[in-house]
């Protein structure tokens, strides 16, 4: 039902010749519409039946809204609302408040969670931060799943009387909700960034695991503790999650500053007249897109981005800037010297060892040409150890492409550059990398 409702507007909003899954953001739209349809049905049902235990509903709604106000951006541009999510899950898993047995329906859970989220989004809108609807839709869908499974069971006497059964069931559902969140978010990222699903899922789980554990534990705590201490449990067990969130905010903050700083300082080569303006930024963006295309995981993708941003930093040690800064046009020895000098600079930091290695080997040819020239067995495959790391191969291709094309947006020039790289795949460039680059470049020219 939600599938049909989702696809129609997606298709009509874009050109008909492309299928919805090829249109950017179609998945996002699909998800939002699915959540929206579910929400409308739930609100209608709740309105028809009337609100059960309004005091409890308002308390949880307020907690969810509070959590949405305190949204958190995790590394990799992930927006989460840990406290709001924990509150909504706890509301779905509630059995008793004090000695009172609660009987709200799954529809009511969805309604309260959605209203809380919308109210919590208002302050963000007021200061001009747009609401990220897809994130809210994901959270709402996860809560809805737990609610529709657990609410009918909550009134079951077996669940109510055996705490062991209840604990197991509730824990399992919490884990399920967190997994579902990871899967849905990964699907969104596949859609948005052209990542591979498996890679995106693993990355998502890796980033979300610690905070997810805290969210799940807090949701369970609130649900259980409500039996002992009533609604005070909401305030008491939100506190540790708040502490956790503050810690994560600082962590995410320093990660963001780190990236901004490397981006900014990579520009010194431009200000000093060593390379063309915007070169480092363009190479890094292209390299990351290629890396994603080739299925590189996020931590290595970050290293690739750092290495790409700083790949020309070695030029700072040169006496005179290379004319135009195009390293593709200077001799192999000079290229190698720049790479070595740059790697030495990065090595100084001691924490970016693999980044330094990527930069050091950015000029190495993909295949050992001496072997190839001997022609004993066609192109002798060099053994794995001597081949430069994938990230170095990507930077080599991206750098060459940008030296040839620069900031030009002309698709013909880009195609010619790709062709030139392709002709060199016998020895210089990694064929798989060049093909990935070609796909990235093609996509970009379609979007223009």
């Amino acid at each position: 039902m939600s599938d049909l409702a989702g696809r129609t507007p997606a298709r009509s909003s874009r050109e008909m010749r492309r299928y919805p899954w090829q249109v950017r953001d179609s998945g996002q739209l699909l998800l939002v519409v699915a959540a929206g349809v579910w929400l409308v049905a739930a609100v209608a049902q709740t309105a028809a039946e009337g609100l059960q235990d309004p005091r409890i509903a308002i308390a949880f709604g307020a907690l969810i809204a509070f959590g949405e106000v305190l949204r958190l951006n995790l590394p990799g541009d992930r927006e989460t609302a840990p406290i709001g999510f924990a509150g909504a899950l706890a509301y779905a898993l509630l059995i008793n408040v004090g000695t009172k047995f609660v009987q709200h329906s799954a529809e009511q859970v969805v309604t309260v969670a959605a209203i809380g989220m919308i109210i919590g989004a208002l302050p963000h809108l007021a200061v001009g931060r747009p609401a990220r609807v897809s994130g809210m839709a994901v959270r709402l869908l996860c809560v809805a799943c737990v609610a529709y499974i657990f609410r009918p069971l909550a009134s079951n006497s077996a669940v109510e009387s055996h705490w062991g059964l209840a604990v197991t069931l509730m824990t399992a559902l919490t884990v399920l909700a967190l997994l579902l969140e990871a899967v849905l978010t990964a699907l969104l990222r596949v859609d948005e960034q052209r990542a591979r699903f498996r890679v995106a899922l693993v990355d998502e789980m890796r980033v979300q695991l610690p905070l997810g554990a805290a969210v799940g534990a807090s949701a369970l705590l609130i649900a259980f503790a409500a039996e002992v201490m009533g609604l005070a449990a909401l305030a008491v067990f939100t506190a540790p999650l708040l502490v956790t969130q503050v810690a994560f905010r600082r962590y995410a903050g320093i990660r963001a500053t780190y990236l901004q700083t490397v981006r900014a300082l990579a520009k010194v080569t431009e200000i000093g007249g060593y390379v063309e303006a915007g070169h480092s930024e363009r190479v890094s963006r292209l390299a990351v897109a290629i890396g994603r295309e080739l299925g590189i995981h996020e931590p290595q993708l970050l290293e690739l981005e750092y290495a790409a941003l700083m790949h020309d930093i070695g030029q700072l040690s040169l006496h005179d800037p290379i004319p135009g800064g195009a390293t593709v046009l200077v001799s192999r020895q000079d290229q190698q010297r720049i790479a070595e000098l740059g790697a030495d600079v990065i090595q100084q930091a001691q924490v970016l060892g693999s980044v330094a290695e990527i930069v050091r080997r950015q000029n190495e040819p993909y295949r050992d040409t001496d072997h190839a020239a001997n022609g004993r067995a066609g192109f002798a495959e060099p053994h794995q150890g001597s081949r430069p790391p994938l990230s170095s191969r990507i930077i080599k291709a991206a750098n060459a492409f940008d030296d040839l094309v620069g900031s030009s947006l002309d698709p013909g020039r880009a195609a010619a550059a790709v062709q030139r790289l392709r002709l060199d795949t016998a020895s210089e460039y990694d064929p798989a990398t060049v093909e990935a680059l070609s796909r990235v470049v093609n996509r970009r020219s379609i979007l223009l």
């Binding site: 540790p240 000093g272 930093i313």
Partner: protein, 447 residues
Amino acid sequence: MGKLSRVALLYIGAVVVSAVVLVARGPFTGLRWQYVVFLGILVIVSESRATQLRKGQLTWSPSSAAMLASVVLAGPVGAAIVGACTALGLRRGPSILQRVFNTAMYALSAYLAGRAFLALGGQVGLPDEQSFPGIIAPFAGAALVLVVANHGLLSGVLWLTRPPDGTPSGVGVGLSGRLLLSDLGYAAYGLLIAALWSVVGFFAPLLVLIPLFVARWAVAQFAEQQKAYEATVGALCQAVETKDFYTRGHSDRVSRGSVMIAREIGMRSERVEAIRYAGMLHDVGKLGVPTKVLQKTGKLTEEEYAAIQLHPMRGLDIVREIGFLDEALAGIMHHHERIDGRGYPMGLAGDEIPEFARVLAVADAFDSMTSTRSYRGARPVAEAIEELRKWSGTQFDPAFVDAFVAALKREGWLRSEAPVIPADDLATVTAQDHDDPGAPLRVIDSL
């Protein structure tokens, strides 16, 4: 810990003996071992990953919550046993003596907390609905006793084993103050563990401690990232300086000097952090100045002088997008302004100049004067201070000159080493220094 004084050994001995005697007295009958064993294991696990705060002995972990839960569930002796488990953590680092002392200290504090709980009328055992709110007062008393005893005993041993050279142990005291509060916060979770135990059994401490563990993990990650960040900024700043042998290490020293001034005038710690980065990055814009201008020995033309005057703006262009405090950006942009309004790039005067810029200006000039230049050797610190005083009020803010001199008297100054200039052409040597107040840039007089 190295060699310990007799008093310190006596103190440690007293703590250990009293802990052993009190716990050995029992009573062990009716002790609920199931709680003790489970909470004991939990403490061992949590202590195995205690967070190192600084180089030194202090660490923090949420084990105080487990100890207080055992105060409620198992009484003073049970709590002492759980407390003693802290030293069994698999964490590497502490020596045998440190471990023995820690064991005794935690056992003793937990025992005293248990006694306080009983004295204030607390009932040992699983709390139920009737226990609330009566249990809160004795529990709060127990938490206070635990935390105070823990910090008191620890401060005692830190004080007795302080290094003989008499370096101020102010860090330890300040840290203890903040730790005391966070420990009290953690302690409150002991009651929650005890209360939840009646609903979900042994699942309770696990659930309660997960968010706290995750928070600690995030704090550790933050600390790690921050260290990496600092190292990276340092390396990149060095890359900018690398061409000029005379100014190597300049950014680093200016950064240190600025931090000395900032601490001396009592800046908040976030601002001290910000000024440290501002110091490191203050000259990145110099890269935009053509090498030939920096190498020129004679007088500069108007254009060349303008190129030099532009470097703070270039620096700002580079660092603008970094999510720093705006103050740091203002500091980088205005670090060549003068109090009398004759500086650049804006010609601001007096209080119009941002505070960060006035601080940076002092440290910047001082390092320039105490470093070797192609046209002169490094000047002695005393002479450089003299020079700062001379320009105080015209070029520099007198308050910051005074603060810097005071900090220098106390902490000293790690001067730059005389550069070794290699013979190859890779090295660039500047002939003039725009930072040197003693040798201002010479500009051809326009006609």
